[in-house]
């Protein structure tokens, strides 16, 4: 047994064990896999056909082809990234396995890293087929965004992990009573990060709040790219800076909530 595996230090071996555990679960259940693809496909088709209809009747939308589909695909990266993280965590609570995990040598940082990896795995299973369907149905090629897509993805996934980490802390502290937060918290970002419209649409006072949220920069950047064919690197850098702050705040909140869960004895009894 190496020192790295004894619990004294960070261990990639323990991260791999947790990823393996979630992978076994995912592949044992076809409804779980179907669920990853089903809703993003429905969303993409609905917004794609809506955009097709509008573009046939309005000059601006004819010029801005792909904005809605781009928005919905990027929104799904944000939403599904967080959901992929939170659902893997919830699986431990549903299985009453959290006590086993928390009593094992697994460190909180290793647990969180495993959840982040699983959020990418789950996201890939859902988003790759959907992005290919978007090409087939509407001729919108998300992959053609190239480097910009990498910047959008990195910023969105960072935000989704921050929210996922915070929700995991809430679940540890409050048990399954906080489950609804896992499903709904990201919807607060939907109007505020201006997924489907420019920030300028918001009242001025709300724009300050919108610009404090990293995904706002990504959606503005995507519109600049699709409509004006300009990649706004400045927006991506600003988004990354806000993401660093958000990630640090979420990690700190998680550790505080975990500490509080130990004080309140919530780690063994994680029911309602």
């Amino acid at each position: 047994m190496s020192i790295a595996d004894t619990g004294m230090n960070f261990s990639l071996n323990r991260v791999a064990a947790m990823v393996r555990r979630y992978w076994y679960l995912l592949r044992s259940s076809w409804p779980r896999i179907l669920d990853l693809i089903y809703w993003p496909t429905v969303q993409m088709l609905m917004w794609g056909f809506l955009q097709l209809y509008i573009s046939q009747n309005a000059g601006f939308f004819a010029r801005a082809g792909g904005v809605f589909i781009g928005s919905v695909l990027l929104w799904d990266i944000l939403f599904r990234g967080q959901l992929g993280f939170s659902i893997s965590f919830l699986e431990e609570m549903y299985a009453r396995n959290l006590g086993n995990i928390m009593m094992s040598p697994l460190r909180p940082t290793e647990f969180l890293l495993a959840l982040m990896i699983m959020s990418i795995v789950r996201l890939s299973i859902g988003m790759i087929p959907v992005s290919l369907l978007a090409i087939a149905f509407f001729g919108f090629n998300l992959w053609a965004l190239g480097l910009a897509l990498a910047a959008f993805f990195a910023n969105l996934i960072l935000t989704s992990w921050s929210v996922g980490i915070f929700v995991a802390g809430l679940l540890l502290r409050n048990g399954l009573g906080a489950e609804s937060m896992a499903w709904t918290i990201m919807f607060l970002f939907l109007p505020l990060t201006c997924v489907y419209y420019p920030v300028a649409v918001l009242p001025e006072w709300l724009q300050y709040l919108a610009w404090a949220l990293p995904p706002t920069y990504v959606f503005e950047g995507m519109r600049a790219l699709v409509i004006d064919h300009a990649f706004r690197a400045d927006l991506m850098v600003e988004a990354f800076a806000f993401n660093v702050v958000l990630f640090a705040a979420a990690s700190l909140a998680f550790l505080k909530l975990l500490e509080s869960a130990r004080v309140h004895g919530s780690l063994l009894l994680t029911g309602e």
């Binding site: 071996n13 393996r20 044992s28 699986e91 299985a95 006590g99 094992s104 040598p105 460190r107 004080v263």
Partner: protein, 252 residues
Amino acid sequence: MDAQNTSVIAVDRLVKRYKGVAAVDGISFRLARGTVTGLLGGNGAGKTTTIAMIMGLVTPTSGTVTVLGAEMPRERHRVLHRMNFESPYVDMPMRLTVRQNLSVFAQLYAVPDIGERIASLAADLDLIEFLDRPTGKLSAGQKTRVSLAKSLLNKPEVLLLDEPTASLDPDTADWVRSRLEQYCKDRGATVLLASHNMSEVERLCERVIIMKKGRIEDDDTPERLLSRYSRETLEEVFLDVARGRRQSEAAQ
């Protein structure tokens, strides 16, 4: 060398309060290496909270818990790989097969030669035919044996067992006890066993700590408890303590 240094588990003036109510109220005890100790008490006596604090899952309100020289929960990562537990409050993931579950936990505990360890435990605990079945499809007794296998994966020096034979039929329970007895004998592990089953405690434990309302009411060997209370069985001793009868009254 003082007692604290020689003890594998040292609990000192331990208190846990939830919203002002004491679940554990100032208990102290030390467990020496290679001993098996029973923790008895009625529902709400504080057994599970005590074990949870020893495991580092619950932070004490005051007092200290030291396991293998590490203060819990602050230094838990120094020793968690040398401990393990089994409890009715946790389950193994139901959709995973027994083999998958055991291999995931073996990897978490950095068990060398995982395949061989699982095969050996499966043979010892009569799990070979269930290894590739989903854990959720097993009977209660089979699941308990899987949980026991999980708790022995890393050959722990400290084993915490919270009602390990609850909900098992007498035959399976007896079978599990004999496996535990064998493990303790072979490994020289220090075991703390919370149980409602007095015959189990009599058979496995060389020392019994009886808790009531968060406090330790008595602490002795089973033989001396029987003698002091002038009783034939630990169950009678337990009832005397639970109903507040003193040793002198019980003897009359």
